[in-house]
Symmetry: C2
Subunit: 390 residues, 2 copies
């Protein structure tokens, strides 16, 4: 395997878009290519994460359509379907196709447009991310799954639910604090107080509105290339030093959803490839589709002991300036969650953090960053580890 | 890149299944693993092509669900969405992940279950394979697209339509002749005469029922590994010597649909990687979703000059025993077309042909075989070149 780098990233603002998924991807991709000091004609292949374009817009074969819209018709163009992890799958596959020596410069990312759909249709579509034979018939939706996770977490570690809810509210508050000043975030410019969070409507007890990520439109992209080419293009290359992937058959196959073995296995693979451990990670964008999900993920990645993640939030360890800054972009909670794009947007944030270009949201001195996405009911989990320079 | 081989293949019978897509894949995969003299626990990652499981069964994240059903929960499991080319994308990605050195033994294939759907719903779902912004609003469906292809082919090369139709009927007759004796084929045991073909109902002029492939359920899989491991497992390894991929933005972006640049570029990439040309291919499974598609593909792959493919059919060149045997399995036309599985089923046939295990359908002495799949309205095209031994 050759060494592989990201040389440029781009993303649309997340939120409500009048553009199609193809057009949003073209916007993000063009920004990524320009930021890489390349031209579109330099791209040799296209990898696009997209979960449900066939349902949302009657558009399958997303990657070929994106290639054509960019004037790159003819190029190899592959679409990855891994629910909320789709964008990460596109990027880790770009990593291996470049690393293998087959391609030198690949455009990878993701796109999704979900706000075109009514809530019942969106709920049904999201529901295809669970086990269709054993979970769908129960009527369990994602808020229900993560509500169970919160109850089980509180019970397992003997935490009064009111205390856990306060920690979850702080996850939300942190997300909105940084999302509010991230111009790409769905909730950019929207200040949210602890009182608003505490008083928001109940969705699935104990999850309230501010414990849940929004439905979003958006796209993000990255240019992936070799070390040699990266050196010629930029003095701020970001190396991909490890990737990992794990799977499960959904909630119905889990013994204890306060731990997710697929995540732990995937993270272990990524750390092993990179030759590092959790302590080496300076900044992480992880899958906070619900506030409790951030707490559980922060433990699954090895940042905190099982049962300690909620305390770390309360201590401020996961805030910018803390010991282990998590989701300085505002995360899925405040940045938004166009599912196929989410993994690529995490890479967008980490690359900018490692380059020191995040302004008031900057994690000072960050050298190693991590992304974590989880698709479906814990079905598809993927990780990328990135490092500043060489 | 390390050298890569297929050591075992498996497939369900194509047709109507009571099993889910996950269960069909598990059947094909188990057969492939057993045929490889391996155990399921030897598999390190899973790559599954699936076009529309989220619509067909409310099941997205297909690969993780397949992994769990096989008792392989936890493994990296990636789903590829390339419409009818999905299964080929899974296999060529297995090729690169093994070639790169990251994994040693990967299970790759595809699955699709489409006969659960009513015709209007199936038509709508299939329609997501075209360009949703420019083609869908025209009402153009796949039979319409390939009917246009037949008319344009006849016009371009000055062929009386009745003569072209006779050549197309012979494509169908050949497909059913071999599908009739292929136990895995949807139309196994069904003899079809030229008279039946000529007298079948009109679908989209000039395409009649016997010019069109059926709607199908099915799955197919292959075990992909390194040369070294293959040598230990089997005395009949089949090497993957080249892969290719190409894309387009659909019919609306094509100047002349009697030639498909995406296919020609993809095939060129595959031939270049393998260091061979069309003349070296002894047997080919190509994308005959409609009879005219077989003729156009046979030219696009370089087997015949543009405008000569229909004559080759009439001469018998594309039959078993002819100069360039095409679709000895019965092809998509008679074997069936569960879209996500089709590319993997082509690899299944080619591997068996190169091993000399096809009985009455055997292409004698075949050393090099090719697969060709086309997804959407020419949006995603992929190729694999396989070679007997080393």
């Amino acid at each position: 395997m050759r060494e592989v780098a990201v040389v440029g990233v781009g993303m649309t603002r997340f939120g409500l878009s009048q553009k199609t998924q193809v057009e949003m991807f073209a916007e993000a991709a063009t920004d990524a290519v320009n930021a890489s000091n390349l031209r579109l004609k330099d791209i040799q292949a296209l990898y696009v994460g997209n979960a449900d374009g066939n349902v949302e817009e009657g558009q399958a074969v997303m990657a070929p359509m994106c290639a054509a819209d960019l004037g790159l018709s003819g190029l190899p163009a592959t679409t990855f379907q891994g629910a909320c992890s789709s964008g990460t799958l596109a990027i880790i596959n770009a990593f291996v196709w470049v690393g293998s020596g087959i391609f030198d410069i690949v455009l990878a990312g993701g796109t999704e447009r979900q706000r075109t759909m009514s809530t019942p249709l969106a709920t049904r579509m999201m529901g295809s991310g669970v086990h269709s034979k054993y979970e769908t018939p129960t009527g369990l939706s994602f808020p229900g799954i993560f509500a169970m996770m919160a109850h089980l977490y509180a019970q397992k570690y003997g935490i009064p639910l009111s205390e856990l809810k306060e920690a979850m509210a702080r996850v939300s508050f942190k997300a909105h604090k940084w999302g509010c000043i991230n111009p790409k975030a769905q909730f950019f410019g929207k200040e949210v107080t602890m009182q608003q969070i505490r008083e928001s409507a109940m969705v699935a007890s104990p999850l309230q509105v501010y414990d849940c990520c929004p439905i979003s439109d958006g796209a993000a992209a990255a240019v992936v290339t070799t070390k040699e080419i990266a050196r010629r293009l930029t003095d701020k290359p970001v190396q991909i030093i490890g990737v990992g992937q794990g799977s499960s058959g959904g909630v119905c196959t889990q013994k204890d959803i306060t731990r997710i073995p697929a995540r732990e296995m995937s993270a272990k693979r990524a750390y092993a490839m990179a030759g590092i451990g959790p302590a080496d990670v300076d900044v992480c964008e992880l899958h906070d589709c619900f506030t409790i999900a951030e707490i559980v993920a922060s433990e699954g990645l090895g940042f905190f002991e099982p049962g300690d993640g909620w305390k770390a939030v309360v201590r401020g360890d996961t805030d910018i300036g803390g010991e282990k800054p998590i989701n300085p972009s505002g995360g899925i909670k405040a940045k938004g969650h166009p599912v196929g794009a989410t993994g690529a947007a995490q890479v967008y944030e980490i690359v900018n953090q490692l380059r020191g270009e995040c302004g008031n949201r900057q994690v000072e001195g960050a050298k190693i960053g991590m992304t974590d996405t989880m698709g479906g009911s814990f079905a598809s989990i993927a990780h990328a580890l990135l490092k500043r320079g060489w």
